[in-house]
Symmetry: C2
Subunit: 427 residues, 2 copies
Amino acid sequence: MKQYVPLEVPASEPRLSDGIEPCEGGICAVAGIRAAGVCANLRGDPQRRDLALVAANETCVCAGVFTQNRFCAAPVQVSREHVADGRARAIVLNSGNANASTGEPGLEVARKTAGLVAKELGCAEDQVLVGSTGVIGVPLSLDGFVTGVPAAVRELAHSTEAANNAARAVMTTDTVDKQSSYEIKITRADGSVTKAHVGGFVKGSGMIMPNMATMLCVLATDAPLDAEAAHKALLDAVQETFNKVTVDSDTSTNDTCVLFATGEAGGETICVGSPEYACVAAGIRAACEDLARKIAADGEGATKLVTVDVLGAATTEDAEKVARSIANSPLVKTAIFGHDANWGRVAAAAGKCGVDFDQYNVDIDLMGVPVLRAGLPLPMDEEDMLRRFEGPEVPIAISLGEGTSSARMWTCDLTHEYIVINGDYRT
Amino acid sequence: MKQYVPLEVPASEPRLSDGIEPCEGGICAVAGIRAAGVCANLRGDPQRRDLALVAANETCVCAGVFTQNRFCAAPVQVSREHVADGRARAIVLNSGNANASTGEPGLEVARKTAGLVAKELGCAEDQVLVGSTGVIGVPLSLDGFVTGVPAAVRELAHSTEAANNAARAVMTTDTVDKQSSYEIKITRADGSVTKAHVGGFVKGSGMIMPNMATMLCVLATDAPLDAEAAHKALLDAVQETFNKVTVDSDTSTNDTCVLFATGEAGGETICVGSPEYACVAAGIRAACEDLARKIAADGEGATKLVTVDVLGAATTEDAEKVARSIANSPLVKTAIFGHDANWGRVAAAAGKCGVDFDQYNVDIDLMGVPVLRAGLPLPMDEEDMLRRFEGPEVPIAISLGEGTSSARMWTCDLTHEYIVINGDYRT
């Protein structure tokens, strides 16, 4: 009987080089960063942390990327303005209310929240960014911030516990806090080594009851990036990681991802043209990829992390289109929930998205097992497939046989729990 | 308190004019058409009808539109060839096996099936079309057809019962058979009136266990259309009806929609330029729209038929993009299942799809109730909304305030039952 070789998919990300290693501390692994997460009673539960603050010791380089949704929340508008000059001191985040569709009063609350933080830290209001997640269309009161912000500033600390508190204060339907940190060894032109760090946390797991999926991500590095380098490294990383995650194809009015670069690792400033840039950018990408996978694995109701690799596409655009089509297919996602090695649904999802290919050139692997070659099914050992479904991850690989471009996307299965979480009445 | 007026959405389709009225008979309302549905034991249940046959009394004008999926089943390939000359005698359909991803042997079975029908009817093999729905990647045996086709030909009849049998033989996860028929009064240039009919049936309700969504639709009219007119009327109708239905955003390898035009209503041939064309095309569209709504209402696990109207778009393309984004949003669809008047999810789905608009120009109505005006929420009577959710239909209307283009899309809610149907293991 003919033996079929599995498709060669790229190695698991992050591709850690000698210079990049996981470390402890979350966002507080980064020199010059303090964090806090406090109970500000913003969501009607005085025992629940709902206000997070991350502050650099001094105003420093900062970059941000924000939702492309045409409905865009007040904090996004304010943060966009405040980060426009490439510098910031802090970001304050709340859960419980998204401050979206709240008009001019919402903008005022977001600005005043930034002002409260600025006053406590002794910086300008436009050096403070704001992020919100929770219900939309409900006015956000400043009240909780009036007491909550000073409390958060008092609790600011450079510790793993402080990082934990901040990461937990932004959780909504997330079932776990999602943090990541890496140590980066930057080899300088003169042979000396600068030890730098990148760390951060993210929230997001689908939509937020009662409204929409929000991703809030705060990252920091002590590598001495200039503003352009920070912006490029963040944008490139987000494009290859957070923008490649889909839980339910819905994107939010509030998505925000910011990167502070404190420079406290020392040494000469690193710009996009510096030889050291690639190493720092790889570290930032590693953290983003780690957090992106954690979002997919914690997708609302998810039982599996699903990685979709599309290979052999004519162009990267084609590869991404096919990957997105498979990762968003409810039929693929319910099949995985049902432990059904249903390659037919993968094929149909690939074929429906308008990308041109010949079905008789297509190969598909499920969980490392060749199931389709040249468009025709191979005999399948169903017992073996059921055993493979016991693991926490389901890799899907498809080769279109059209070229050499590829793309990767992360998602999760579609389960009863997703319907429970999102079909429940709001109140 | 300010009163808000609901958005003006187009009247419910089909917009029946004096000349177009529903009638009895399904596909057998059409003169010159006979139908049958028999048990051919193609799906391992000898008591279940699984083979349908629709035949014109003579070879006649025929048009077909087929799946755009790059994975395309054998019967689709064969039917495309056989209808290329714009004429056909019959179509034979089976449920239980999609004959997809079956390579050259699958093509041979599809051709031989057509050959069996041709032999019994006394016509050429290439005058017979083939449609299949069911599992993919499993060889389809000719055996069931060898006895089933002669049985179906023996049972061919011009009766409501025969139409019912054919419509039921193609059902898979459909919970009801879906048929439609209209009488069309065609007023001729000389003032005389020709009574014509259009009738048909469709199957489709999401994916077919264990594989994919398939829509098989057979339509017929006795209006004397020429081949070009039949093709244009069908294509235009499909574009505005079946192509505007989404159950789970997945499209199939087997989708097929054909229209026979027997000409038996009599009178001069109607071509695209004839003054009578519009009336016949409207009748065909009415039948397609009726069947399309029935597909959405019978979506897998559906409890509600959802109609999405997008108004005030800059272009039709924009309107369709927004309508599709809302209709495919799992968050919108689970909210409807949960009887949650969650306009925020509608807004977010509209905003995420890349269409440009100003959020402060957007109006939204849910079930006829204004809930958002100029981007800001209106007070909502939650009790009233819950009462409105008791009905079988949920209309959503959104105006973008950018122009005068509009689009309509039909879908259904996303429920536990969808997960049950599609998450069950195949065997």
